[in-house]
Symmetry: C2
Subunit: 277 residues, 2 copies
Amino acid sequence: MKDTYKPLILISNDDGITAKGLRVLVETMQPLGELLVVAPNSPQSGMGHAITIHSPLKIYRSTVFDDLGVEAYESSGTPADCIKLAKYYVLKGRTPDLVVSGINHGSNTSISILYSGTMSAAIEAAIEGMPAIGFSLCDYEKNADFSHVVTYVSAIAQQVLQTGLPRGTALNVNFPRKSHEQIKGIKICRQANARWKEEFDERTDPYGRKYLWLAGSFENPDKGEDTDEWAIAHNYVSVVPCLFDLTAHHAIATLNYEWQILKETAPRTIQEHFDNF
Amino acid sequence: MKDTYKPLILISNDDGITAKGLRVLVETMQPLGELLVVAPNSPQSGMGHAITIHSPLKIYRSTVFDDLGVEAYESSGTPADCIKLAKYYVLKGRTPDLVVSGINHGSNTSISILYSGTMSAAIEAAIEGMPAIGFSLCDYEKNADFSHVVTYVSAIAQQVLQTGLPRGTALNVNFPRKSHEQIKGIKICRQANARWKEEFDERTDPYGRKYLWLAGSFENPDKGEDTDEWAIAHNYVSVVPCLFDLTAHHAIATLNYEWQILKETAPRTIQEHFDNF
């Protein structure tokens, strides 16, 4: 880029500060701006949008990225905590121009976005008014191959630095795992309407007590060709713009209609209404 | 109700199985159906949509509601875990007709829904296709007064049992704290566009190490009279229908337009494109 201003890029993740995907992301962002890493000191997968309010937080300067000359901090908190810590504690005033999270070791397509620590960091940043992207590779291996996605990570980050994002949104970007076939390109998608069908694997500990492991399988009845699941299955990069306003705006009129009597009944006569339903 | 079928109502919360708000909810639901309680064994506030995937889960039969003749289980998991455990482990097949969560000790209006364990239980239930409601009282006291809200809790649950909910939504219901004034009624609302401005309270432990407490203040620049914040401030019950599809559908067209070149550029020439931007 010809611009002489170096944008500030805040980087976090949910696999922890030593994860390979984080290092790949830091290396990929380095030519694009000044970097700050604030990441959890342990894996936080599945933490959703958890924040730490009932116990204290710790944050330390980390040497993990000293070899790249990048300032980094590790925190005992969740990914959402890391974004709050970066903005309100480490930076104290300067606002990052871009927040990137990941690259997650594992898919965060479809409903998995709700359980995703990677995306909670991005969504927390969006709440704070910062353009934010969560990157995930559909490969759960600790030593996953990220070589086929770095050009896309860089290009998407540059695109967002240049054109910003629609107000109140963050991006959920997923990449297909490395295969013999080259990635076909980028698709702007919607979240597939799929879910996890759970099973609990029941075991007994050495003291005779039962314990369970959550062990679900992903089920996708949504065959739409505009979904993130379709894009990944067809070797495209999926990009889903996501909201933090969860309001089902279209449902407000329906509820006002269906709840008319309930809304117009005085509290002390509500029970009579239901008794006569 | 004249119907002889007794609906199955699943009850959870995020303050833990011994919380007063949960007992109030169980007592209020008891006339409406057959009850099952699956709740965390410790407070889970702020857990967002976390699930337990890196450690085992425990679940035990609890005697907490034996005095009411209600079957209850306590789990080491999060509120979202509790819903999965209820559906796939305890019930093994029978699907609840209604899932209620709460009554939370504290507000879950506006952006707090994202951090809320109470609402994560309701949203998890909605993902599983069950009508679900999260109830919260805007009073953080352990011994909060719930007496002014039980009629509304019962009425809203009965309304949902009778008319269901718009597909793919869960309700976020908040109640004003007890005051000298009677609650004015129910408002169907949108999530206020407000957020937490954080501060970190820095302290030193007995071993000389620094630690932090997250201590934010809530800031609401959204003065719209259709928000949950407005309803609560004016002594109404706020009811927000919520989605688990986070897609910003309106932003898809914008991104397709703005990202046109990026989408049409072959991977190996993407960097040239940005070099010439």
